[in-house]
C-alpha cells in the first residue's frame, strides 16, 4: 500500500501542501517491486497540444517544475511537452515507477477533436 503523506487531522482529513515532494514508491531502493509497476494503461491526455497525430510515439516523463511533479508526455522530435496525465486511477503508482527509473512510452491511439487517447506501455 502506498504511504500517505500530509498532515492528518483527528477528524480523518488531510491537507496536502502543493510544494511537497511525492516520496511514495512502488519499489524499494534496489529497484525491486518493478512488477508492481503497470505494464500498460490507457488514458485520455489532459491539456493536449495541437498537432498530436494518431500513431505518434511520445515519451512519458516527470515534470518536476510543478509541485507535486506532473506526469507529462513529450514529443521526442520537438522535445516539447504535448500534454499530461491527470484524472487517472493509480497515477501515484505510475509516478513512483517513473521516479524510480522505470521507463514508459505512450502511443497515440486516436485523436478526435481535442480528445487524445493514448496507451502507455512500460519499456
Amino acid at each position: 500500500m502506498i504511504a500517505t503523506k500530509g498532515m492528518i487531522d483527528m477528524g480523518g482529513s488531510a491537507t496536502f501542501p502543493t510544494n511537497g515532494n511525492n516520496n511514495s514508491s512502488p519499489m524499494d531502493g534496489n529497484g525491486e517491486g518493478r512488477d508492481k509497476c503497470p505494464k500498460k494503461l490507457k488514458a485520455v491526455v489532459t491539456g493536449p497540444a495541437l498537432g498530436i497525430a494518431t500513431g505518434a510515439r511520445l515519451e512519458v516523463t516527470l515534470d518536476s517544475t510543478s509541485s507535486p511533479p506532473r506526469v507529462v508526455l513529450v514529443d521526442p522530435t520537438s522535445n516539447s511537452i504535448v500534454g499530461s496525465l491527470a484524472g487517472i486511477p493509480n497515477l501515484d503508482v505510475l509516478l513512483g515507477c517513473l521516479e524510480n527509473g522505470v521507463g514508459y512510452r505512450a502511443f497515440v491511439d486516436s485523436v478526435d477533436g481535442g480528445r487524445v487517447d493514448v496507451t502507455v506501455t512500460q519499456q
Binding site: 502506498i2 482529513s13 491537507t15 496536502f16 502543493t18 484524472g87 487517472i88 509516478l95 487524445v116
Partner: protein, 382 residues
C-alpha cells in the same frame, strides 16, 4: 475558489474510458487554466489520498481530503445510461465544513459539505440533503444549478417555473439555473423574467460530467461578474464543446457554435427488434435513458407495427420523434427502404457502418453516437 464534492472512478464501455474525476475532480481540472486559486475538497479512503494528490494537486493550490471507507466507482454502458454505483453507500450523516470567499459545492454520495462563503454555486445533484441552507450552509450570494426533475422533486411543485421560483424563495438564492438536457437551460432570478439559454450543437455527445462542466463554467463567469444569463450561455457553449470533445482543462477559446432549436415532442417511438432478450434489454435500456430527458410517452415497436403507432399518434395530435435501432447493415437498409419509416421526419438510425458504407439515406439523419442520436430526437434538424 473552493470546489467541494466527489472524486470518483468513472468507467464507460462505449466510448471506452476509465477516469478518476467525479464532479469536483472534473471541475477542478476543467477550470485549472482559467483560475489559479482552486482548492479541492473531497472524500476518499486514506490509503488512496496520495493518488488523489498526485492527480489533482498540480492544478490546485490546496487539496483537502476527508476520510471515507471506499473509493466509489460509477460504471456506464454509454454516457446517457444510468450508471451503476459501486459500492452503494447508505445515506450518510457525514458533514464537513468549508469556509472561503467563493465556492462551488457538488452533491456527494459520501456525505455533505457545509459551506460558509461570500459567493456560492450549489449543484446539488445526487445530494440527499434537504437543501443548501437547511444543511447549515451560508452564502451572501447564492446560485443553485440543477435539472428540471430535481427542482420539481425538491419543491413538490408541478412545473419548472413554479419550482424554480419556490427555490429562489426557500434558499434565498439570487439565481436558479434549471438544466433541461437537449432543451438547454433556463435562468430564474428575482428581478427578471425567466431567460431560456439554448443548447449548442455538437457532433458527438460524451455526456458524462457535462453537468459538472456547466456548473463549473457558470460559477467561474458569474463569480467574475458576468450576468447570470451571460454566464449560463457561456456554460452552455463550453458544455457543448466538452461533450463533442471531452478534453480538459477547458480553454477560453470556443469553436463556432450553432444554437439548437428544440422540438416539441409528445411521444418518442423506438423502432427495433424485440425478438431476443438482448434486443429487448437494449430497447428497455434506451427507453430508461430517454425517460430522464423530459415528460413524454415512450413506445417500443417493431417495424411492422410502426404504421399503427403513427396513425394512433396522429389521431391524438401527438408530435412524434422516431428513433430506429438497426442491429446490422441488412436490417438498417430495410428500415431505410421501408415506406412507413421513410415518411417519418426525422428518422434517426444508429448503425455507424452506414456512412462508411455510403448507403444513400433518403430521409432522416444518421448518427453513429448513441447519445447524440437520442438528443437529436429533441432538436429540429440544422
Amino acid at each position: 475558489m473552493i470546489i467541494a464534492g466527489g472524486v470518483y472512478v468513472e468507467d464507460c464501455v462505449t466510448p471506452r474510458t476509465t477516469q478518476l474525476l467525479g464532479s469536483a475532480g472534473r471541475a477542478t481540472v476543467a477550470l485549472s487554466k482559467m483560475r489559479s486559486d482552486l482548492e479541492l475538497h473531497t472524500y476518499h479512503p486514506p490509503e488512496l489520498w496520495e493518488d488523489v494528490r498526485v492527480n489533482f494537486a498540480p492544478v490546485c493550490t490546496k487539496c483537502q481530503l476527508y476520510s471515507s471507507n471506499s473509493r466509489v466507482h460509477f460504471s456506464y454502458l454509454f454516457p446517457l445510461g444510468r450508471p451503476l454505483q459501486t459500492p452503494y453507500l447508505d445515506p450518510s450523516d457525514e458533514r464537513h465544513f468549508v469556509t472561503g470567499e467563493q465556492a462551488i459545492i457538488f452533491g456527494c454520495v459520501e456525505g455533505d459539505f457545509v459551506v460558509r462563503a461570500n459567493v456560492v454555486v450549489a449543484d446539488l445533484q445526487g445530494s440527499t440533503s434537504k437543501g443548501f441552507r437547511a444543511a447549515g450552509s451560508h452564502a451572501e450570494k447564492l446560485a443553485i444549478v440543477l435539472n428540471g426533475r430535481e427542482v420539481m422533486s425538491r419543491t413538490g411543485k408541478p412545473t419548472i417555473t413554479e419550482a424554480a421560483n419556490e427555490l429562489l424563495e426557500i434558499e434565498k438564492a439570487e439565481v436558479v439555473v434549471v438544466k433541461d438536457g437537449p432543451n438547454g437551460s433556463c435562468v430564474f432570478t428575482r428581478t427578471a423574467y425567466p431567460a431560456p439559454v439554448p443548447a449548442y450543437s455538437s457532433k458527438s455527445l460524451y455526456k458524462i460530467g457535462s453537468g459538472d462542466i456547466f456548473s463549473a463554467v457558470f460559477a467561474h463567469f458569474w463569480m467574475e461578474g458576468a450576468a447570470p444569463v451571460a454566464a449560463a450561455d457561456l456554460a452552455s457553449r463550453h458544455t457543448a464543446a466538452y461533450v463533442e470533445s471531452p478534453s480538459l482543462p477547458l480553454t477560453k477559446e470556443l469553436p463556432v457554435q450553432t444554437a439548437r432549436e428544440p422540438k416539441i415532442v409528445d411521444q418518442i417511438i423506438l423502432v427495433g427488434g424485440q425478438n431476443s432478450i438482448k434486443d429487448q434489454w437494449f430497447m428497455e435500456l434506451l427507453s430508461e435513458a430517454i425517460s430522464h430527458l423530459g415528460k413524454f410517452d415512450i413506445r417500443l415497436v417493431e417495424t411492422n407495427t410502426l404504421g399503427h403507432q403513427l396513425r394512433e399518434a396522429s389521431e391524438r395530435n401527438h408530435s412524434v420523434s422516431v428513433l430506429c435501432i438497426a442491429g446490422d447493415k441488412t436490417e438498417a437498409h430495410s428500415m431505410l427502404m421501408d415506406p412507413i419509416i421513410s415518411m417519418t421526419d426525422p428518422v434517426i438510425f444508429l448503425d455507424n457502418s452506414y456512412e462508411q458504407a455510403g448507403i444513400e439515406v433518403p430521409k432522416g439523419r444518421v448518427f453513429a453516437d448513441l447519445s447524440q442520436a437520442i438528443y437529436e430526437l429533441f432538436w429540429m434538424p440544422i
